[in-house]
């Protein structure tokens, strides 16, 4: 984004911050409009947004899928249990 536009529009720093804020808390109407305007003109930030969303999905996917297949092996469990019980003997 060109420097001359910065009086009216968001900076790239601010725009990329709003991309994150939007995902967690949502944006006010004016913030949403400002961000949209910036993304229309700034290819880098627009790309940042899609990559950020992709990374969020990746992290969620890693955690939620892990939910189903965390299998604690008997070996591992026995070790942890022994470690815990050692505290009390």
């Amino acid at each position: 984004m060109r420097k001359s536009l910065h009086g009216i529009f968001l900076s790239c720093l601010k725009a990329s911050q709003l991309v994150e804020k939007q995902q967690v808390f949502g944006l006010s109407t004016s913030e949403a409009i400002q961000l949209k305007a910036h993304l229309l003109m700034c290819k880098g930030c627009d790309e940042y947004k899609s990559q950020s969303l992709f990374i969020s999905k990746g992290i969620r996917n890693k955690i939620k899928k892990g939910d189903l297949n965390i299998q604690i092996s008997l070996e591992e469990l026995t070790m942890v249990q022994a470690k815990i019980l050692a505290q009390f003997s």
Binding site: M1, K3, H6, S11, C12, L13, K14, S16, Q17, E20, K21, Q23, V24, F25, G44, C45, E47, Y48, Q51, S52, F54, I55, K57, G58, I59, R60, N61, K62, I63, K64, K65, G66, D67, I70, I72, L77, V80, Q81, K83, I84, L85, Q87, F88, S89
Partner: protein, 195 residues
């Protein structure tokens, strides 16, 4: 599913035996549960261990009426919250953005995000090598940043509640996520997409 037992006659059974029973009956489930709520397996193990230490200390004050499992899990929940809270307290250094942005807050040369060849998104997200690369990049982040980013996926609470629980402001929270994302994006860009 095993029926939840109660700590009956807890006064008559020696403490040692009691805690052994608790560990044998509940540690597996607690470990699985904790593993889904903290970033690392070692941390989950430590927190489960800490939970039993507290349980051992407080066993006399335990209300026989309440269920053992509920009691243990409530201690574990507190331990997990304490763990995250402590890491947010450690973040004291001021955050600067001059790595990625110039003095006018525009992307620096070479830091401007360029398109990734993602292809089939679902396939990539499930790709084990990609998952490992993502994990690797997360490990390189300061733990506070990573925690801010993962907390909402580990917790059942909404972001406002998480902030309250962690004692941080909402703007501090998304700013930490922003830092984490910038770094993580760059790391993936270098280690995966440009490889």
């Amino acid at each position: 599913m095993q029926k939840v037992s109660k700590l009956e006659n807890s006064i008559d059974v020696p403490r040692q035996q009691l805690i052994t029973n608790l560990v044998n009956n509940y540690s597996k489930e607690m470990l699985q549960w904790a593993r889904n709520r903290v970033p690392r397996k070692e941390i989950a193990e430590d927190l489960v261990q800490d939970t039993f230490v507290v349980a051992f200390q407080k066993i006399d004050t335990f209300q026989e009426r309440s269920q053992v499992k509920t009691w243990l899990f409530s201690i574990l929940k507190n331990k997990i919250a304490d763990y995250f809270r402590a890491s947010f307290k450690m973040e004291t250094k001021p955050l600067t953005d001059n790595v990625f942005f110039d003095n006018s807050d525009i992307w620096k040369n070479g830091e401007l995000p360029r398109s990734w060849e993602i292809g089939d998104e679902t396939q990539l997200l499930d790709n084990l090598d990609f998952k490992a690369a993502l994990e690797d990049c997360q490990d390189k982040l300061p733990s506070t940043w990573n925690h801010a980013m993962v907390l909402k996926y580990f917790s059942d609470k909404d972001a406002n509640e998480i902030c309250k629980e962690m004692g941080i402001t909402t703007s501090n929270y998304w700013q930490l996520i922003h830092r984490a994302k910038l770094q993580l994006r760059k790391c993936l860009d270098t280690n995966w997409f440009k490889k």
